[in-house]
C-alpha cells in the first residue's frame, strides 16, 4: 500500500518536476502559516536573529561593558534587568549573549549540515566501498564526546567561540548523515532518478538536482533542531568555563549567578535562563511544525 503511494508520488514528481516540487513547498508554507504556534515560534526566531545581527554589527548592546549603576542593583525602570557585580546592565549582557548563542547555533548548524548532507548523500548514492568507509568513519567519529573534541580545539586554537563552534559542528553531523544516507538509498532507485539517468543526467546531476531536493525537508528540520542543541551546549560549556571566554554568554551569566543567588541576586539567572528558554522552545516548536508541514508521509494527517 505504502509503496504504491510513494511510487505514484514519485511518478508525478518526475513528470512535472518543477511545478510539483514548488507546490510541495507552497503547500508546506501555507500549512505553516495556518499553524499559529509555528508562526509565533518563527517570529521569535526572527526576533532573536535580528537582535543577534544588531548586536553583531554593533548597533545595539555595543556598550555592554559600561558601568550603568551600582553593583547588584535590583531590576527597576532605570535598570531594566538589574546590574551585575560590576554595575553593568544585565539586559545588555543578555542581548550580547544572544549574539553569541545565535552565532554558535548558526555556525554549528551550517557546519553540521554541510558535512552531514555531503557525506550522507555520497555514501548513500555511491554505496560500496565509499559507503563502507563513510559509515566506518562516522561511527568512529561519533564515539568522540564533544567535550573531548572541544578540549582538543581549545588546546590548539585557544578557548573561545571558534573552538566551541568547531567542536559542536564537528560532533553533531552524524545523525543527519545517517538519515540522509538512508533516504538517498531509498530514493536512488526510484523511477524519477532512472528517468533523469535516461535523459543523460550524470551522477552529480541526479544526486544534487533530483534526489537532494526530495530529502531536503529532513535537512531543514535538522537545522532547526541542531541550532537549539548548539545553543544549549554552548550555554553548558560556558557555564563550565570551557566555552566562550571574553564575551558575555548565557552560560557565563548562569555561572556567575550560582554564587550571586546566595546574596539574593536572581536577575542575572532569570535573564539568561529566560532568554535561553524562549529560543530553545521556539526552535523546538518550529522544528515540530516544519516536520508536520514538510514530511510528505505526514501529509493529510
Amino acid at each position: 500500500m505504502e509503496s504504491a503511494q510513494t511510487a505514484d508520488f514519485s511518478q508525478n514528481t518526475s513528470k512535472t518536476k518543477v511545478a510539483k516540487s514548488k507546490s510541495l513547498w507552497q503547500h508546506a508554507f501555507s500549512s505553516l502559516l495556518k499553524d499559529k504556534i509555528a508562526v509565533i515560534a518563527f517570529s521569535f526566531v526572527l526576533l532573536y536573529a535580528v537582535v543577534a545581527l544588531g548586536a553583531g554589527l554593533g548597533i545595539i548592546a555595543s556598550d555592554w561593558t559600561k558601568e550603568i549603576g551600582p553593583s547588584y542593583a535590583a531590576p527597576t525602570f532605570k535598570y531594566i534587568l538589574g546590574t551585575d557585580i560590576f554595575g553593568r546592565s544585565v539586559a545588555l549582557k543578555a542581548i550580547k549573549g544572544t549574539q553569541v548563542a545565535m552565532l554558535v547555533g548558526l555556525f554549528t548548524a551550517m557546519l553540521s549540515i554541510t558535512i552531514g548532507v555531503t557525506l550522507g548523500a555520497i555514501a548513500g548514492y555511491f554505496g560500496g566501498r565509499i559507503d563502507e568507509f563513510i559509515v566506518w568513519f562516522y561511527t568512529t567519529f561519533s564515539s568522540i564526546p564533544y567535550i573531548m573534541l572541544l578540549m582538543t580545539f581549545a588546546f590548539i586554537l585557544g578557548k573561545g567561540v571558534t573552538s566551541v563552534c568547531l567542536a559542536l559542528g564537528l560532533s553533531s553531523w552524524v545523525s543527519l548523515c545517517r538519515l540522509i544516507r538512508g533516504e538517498v538509498i531509498r530514493h536512488k532507485d526510484r523511477e524519477y532518478v532512472h528517468a533523469a539517468a535516461a535523459i543523460g543526467g550524470g551522477d552529480f546531476r541526479k544526486l544534487f538536482l533530483h534526489i537532494l531536493p526530495n530529502v531536503f525537508h529532513i535537512v531543514i528540520i535538522n537545522f532547526s533542531l541542531t541550532f537549539q542543541m548548539a545553543i544549549k551546549s554552548e550555554v553548558i560549556l560556558s557555564y563550565l568555563g570551557i566555552g566562550v571566554q571574553e564575551l558575555p554568554s548565557w552560560g557565563r551569566m548562569i555561572d556567575e549567578a550560582k554564587d550571586e543567588l546566595a546574596r539574593g541576586v536572581w536577575w542575572q539567572l532569570a535573564a539568561a535562563a529566560l532568554a535561553m528558554f524562549i529560543i530553545v522552545l521556539a526552535f523546538n516548536l518550529l522544528g515540530d511544525a516544519l516536520r508536520d508541514a514538510l514530511d510528505p508521509k505526514l501529509k493529510g494527517k
Partner: protein, 587 residues
C-alpha cells in the same frame, strides 16, 4: 553478601541526603574539612602551595613545628628531642632526633611494618630536596645555605644517577639519633625552614619502592595515615594507631588560655579518629555543605558575607542560632597580579606603573572581599617587621589620568602598539570575575587583556615554565619573617623558585643578600623597610590586598584557631559529638 550490604549502605546514604534527620556516628570522631582546590600530590618536596602543603602536613612531620597555642608564632621541637644546640658562630645546628618514632606501616618496609625514624632520614630528605634530577619546588629554601649541598647538587646533575650515599658536609648523621647541619653562611631563618613541609622526613626505602608513584603513596610519621592518594574529591585520613606519645600542649598564650583552649591539655594526640578532606572548587557547594553541618570550618565566601555578617562584624542571629562561631584574624599574606618580568614588554617600568595606577584596588576589595582586606602598598604585610606603617605607594590606583600619561611615556599612548596581554587565573567563578574586573580596569587606559582560566596545578606549571604574561596569585607566609615575602622578588629565586614574576633587580638582590644573613636587629628591620619601599615603587607586580580571614566554625568543633601556618593543625582539633548531635537537630 558484602556487595548487598554495600549497596544498601549506598542507598541509605542517598536517602539520607534527602531526609531531614541526620545520624551522627557517636563512635567515631570524624573531622570534615573543605579545600577549594585540587591537590597536586603528596610529596613534601613538591608541596609549594598551601593546599598540597596542608595535606602533606597531615601525614609527614619535620624536626620543628609552631607551638599550637602561642602567639607570636614560636618554634618548638616536633621530631627533634629538643631545640638544637647551636655553635658559637651560629653556623652549626645539632639536633637529637626523638627515639621511638615509627613510620607508618607500608609494604615498602620489610614485613610491611614501619621502621623507626633515624637521623639518616633527615639527611636523605634534605638531599632529596636538593636532588638536581627531581626539580623540587622547595629547593629555594636551602639554596646556597648548607655547606657542600650546592656542590653535591651540581656534581650530581651531570651524573646519570644521583648518588645519595656521598656524604655532604653540611648535613650529616653523627649517630643513629643525631643530625647535624652546617650552614655555609649565616641564615637566620634556617630553623623556620625546618618547620616547612619541604624538609619533612621521608623514608628512602619508600621513595625507592614507589619511584615516580611516591607522589601518591605518602608514608610519614604523622598523626594520620593516608593509605593511598587518588585524585578524587575526597581524601580520607585515619588516625595513626602507632603514633608516638605526643600530648596536647599545657601552655598557651594568655588570649587562648582565657578562651579555654587548654581543656584538652595533656591528652594524647590526635584527638579525632578520622579526617575527611572534601575537595570543592566552587564556593557555594562548600558553603551549603558547611551550613548543613557537613563541613566543620570554612572561610566565608564573598557572596554569603552579607547574609552572615552584620555591619558591626558579628554573626547574624540566624547563624548564631546554629551555634556557629566567627573568627576574624588578619592573615600574613598578599594577593597580587604579577607581570612576567622576563618578557621585554614588562621590563618597561612605566608600563608596569601605569597598569598599577589604572587598577582600582579599593573597588576590588569591596567587590571580592566585602571591604575586609587592606590594600597592599608593598609586599610585606602588617604584623611583621619590615612593613612600613603609614606608607602610601605613589603608584597605586586609581588615577586614570596619571596612568594614561605614564602610558604615553612608556611608548604606548592609549595602549596603541601593545599586544593583547594574557592574564592567567585559576578556574573558579570568583577568579573569573576577578579576571574580568582586571580586564575592565585595564580597558579604561586602552590596554587589552585576555583572561585565561586554568586548573590550579596547571596555572602553577604555566608560571614555572614561564608560559605566562601576567597572572593572579597570592602568597601566604611560610614563616613570620619579612624575608619570606622579600624573597618572592629576589632574582635568583626565579622559577621553579617562588619568584614567579622573574623580577631581577641588582640593587635589590644585593640588599637581599645582605639582609638575609642578618639576625633580627633594628638594623635588619631598617634594611627590610628600605627594600620594601624600593620594591613598592618598582612595581614588579601589581599589589593587591593583605586579606583578613573570616572563618566560621561549627559549635562542636573544639580547639580551632585560624593560623597562618596550618601544617599539622588537624592533630590538635577535637570535636564534641554529643553537641554535634544536639546542634544538628536544630539545623
Amino acid at each position: 553478601m558484602k556487595n548487598i550490604t554495600t549497596l544498601l549502605t549506598v542507598f541509605a546514604f542517598i536517602l539520607g541526603i534527602g531526609g531531614c534527620t541526620k545520624k551522627v556516628d557517636v563512635k567515631e570522631r570524624v573531622l570534615n574539612l573543605a579545600v577549594g582546590s585540587k591537590i597536586k600530590g603528596m610529596d613534601p618536596i613538591y608541596a609549594n602551595d598551601r593546599y598540597s602543603s596542608n595535606e602533606v602536613g597531615r601525614v609527614y612531620e619535620g624536626l620543628l613545628e609552631y607551638h599550637y597555642l602561642k602567639r607570636p608564632y614560636t618554634l618548638v621541637p616536633n621530631l627533634a628531642e629538643a631545640m638544637p644546640a647551636v655553635s658559637a658562630d651560629g653556623l652549626t645546628y645539632t639536633f637529637k632526633v626523638k627515639k621511638g618514632v615509627y613510620f607508618h606501616d607500608d609494604k615498602a618496609f620489610t614485613d610491611g611494618k614501619g621502621r623507626e625514624l633515624v637521623a639518616e632520614d633527615f639527611v636523605y630528605s634534605i638531599k632529596r630536596l636538593a636532588d638536581p634530577k627531581l626539580q623540587s619546588l622547595g629547593w629555594w629554601v636551602l639554596d646556597g645555605k648548607i655547606k657542600g649541598l650546592n656542590e653535591w647538587r651540581k656534581k650530581n646533575s651531570a651524573l646519570p644517577k644521583v648518588n645519595y650515599d656521598e656524604v655532604v658536609e653540611g648535613v650529616k648523621a653523627l649517630d643513629r639519633y643525631t643530625v647535624q647541619f652546617k650552614l655555609s653562611k649565616s641564615f637566620p631563618q634556617f630553623l623556620y625552614s625546618l618547620a616547612m613541609t619541604f624538609t619533612f622526613a621521608t623514608a628512602r626505602e619508600v621513595v625507592e619502592h614507589y619511584g615516580k608513584e611516591f607522589l601518591n603513596h605518602p608514608v610519614g610519621t604523622g598523626a594520620f595515615v593516608l593509605p593511598e592518594f587518588k585524585q578524587s574529591n575526597k581524601i580520607i585520613y585515619t588516625k595513626n594507631p602507632k603514633f608516638r606519645k605526643k600530648l596536647y600542649p599545657s601552655e598557651a598564650s594568655e588570649e587562648f588560655k582565657q578562651k579555654g583552649y587548654l581543656a584538652d591539655a595533656g591528652k594524647q594526640l590526635p584527638l579525632v579518629d578520622k579526617v575527611v578532606v572534601h575537595i570543592m572548587v566552587e564556593a557555594q557547594p562548600r558553603w551549603l555543605n558547611f551550613q548543613k553541618g557537613n563541613i566543620d570550618y570554612l572561610g566565608i565566601p564573598k557572596d554569603n558575607f552579607a547574609s552572615t555578617i552584620t555591619p558591626s562584624k558579628t554573626l547574624t542571629p540566624e547563624q548564631k542560632k546554629k551555634g556557629l562561631i566567627l573568627s576574624i584574624t588578619p592573615s600574613l599574606d598578599i594577593t597580587y597580579m604579577a607581570f612576567n618580568n622576563d618578557s621585554d614588554l614588562f621590563k618597561n617600568i612605566k608600563l608596569r606603573r601605569a597598569m598599577s595606577l589604572a587598577y582600582d584596588v579599593n573597588k576590588s576589595n569591596e567587590l571580592f572581599y566585602n571591604g575586609t582586606g587592606l590594600p597592599a602598598q608593598s609586599v610585606v604585610p602588617p604584623g611583621i617587621a619590615g612593613n612600613i606603617k603609614g606608607y602610601v605607594n605613589p603608584y597605586r590606583g586609581t588615577d586614570v589620568a596619571k596612568a594614561k600619561a605614564l602610558l604615553v611615556e612608556a611608548g604606548y599612548p592609549e595602549g596603541k602598539g601593545l599586544p593583547a596581554i594574557t592574564y592567567d587565573i585559576s578556574v573558579s567563578t570568583v577568579a573569573r570575575q576577578m579576571g574580568e574586573f582586571f580586564k575592565k580596569q585595564m580597558k579604561e587606559i586602552g590596554i587589552n587583556i585576555k583572561v585565561q582560566a586554568n586548573p590550579w596545578p596547571e596555572l602553577q606549571k604555566k608560571v614555572d615554565t614561564r608560559k605566562v604574561m601576567m597572572y593572579g596569585m597570592a602568597w601566604g607566609a611560610d614563616y613570620p619573617d619579612a624575608e619570606n615575602f622579600l624573597q618572592l622578588l629576589y632574582g635568583p629565586n626565579k622559577p621553579p623558585g617562588p619568584n614567579g614574576s622573574g623580577f631581577n633587580n641588582e640593587e635589590f638582590n644585593r640588599l637581599y643578600k645582605v639582609a638575609s644573613l642578618m639576625q633580627d636587629t633594628p638594623e635588619r628591620t631598617a634594611l627590610y623597610e628600605k627594600m620594601n619601599r624600593m620594591i613598592a615603587e618598582e612595581m614588579p607586580v601589581i599589589w593587591g590586598l593583605h586579606r583578613q580571614d573570616y572563618v566560621l566554625y561549627q559549635g562542636w568543633l573544639k580547639n580551632y584557631i585560624r593560623s597562618d601556618f596550618e601544617t599539622g593543625q588537624v592533630q590538635y582539633l577535637n570535636m564534641d559529638i554529643e553537641k554535634k548531635k544536639a546542634l544538628l537537630s536544630k539545623f
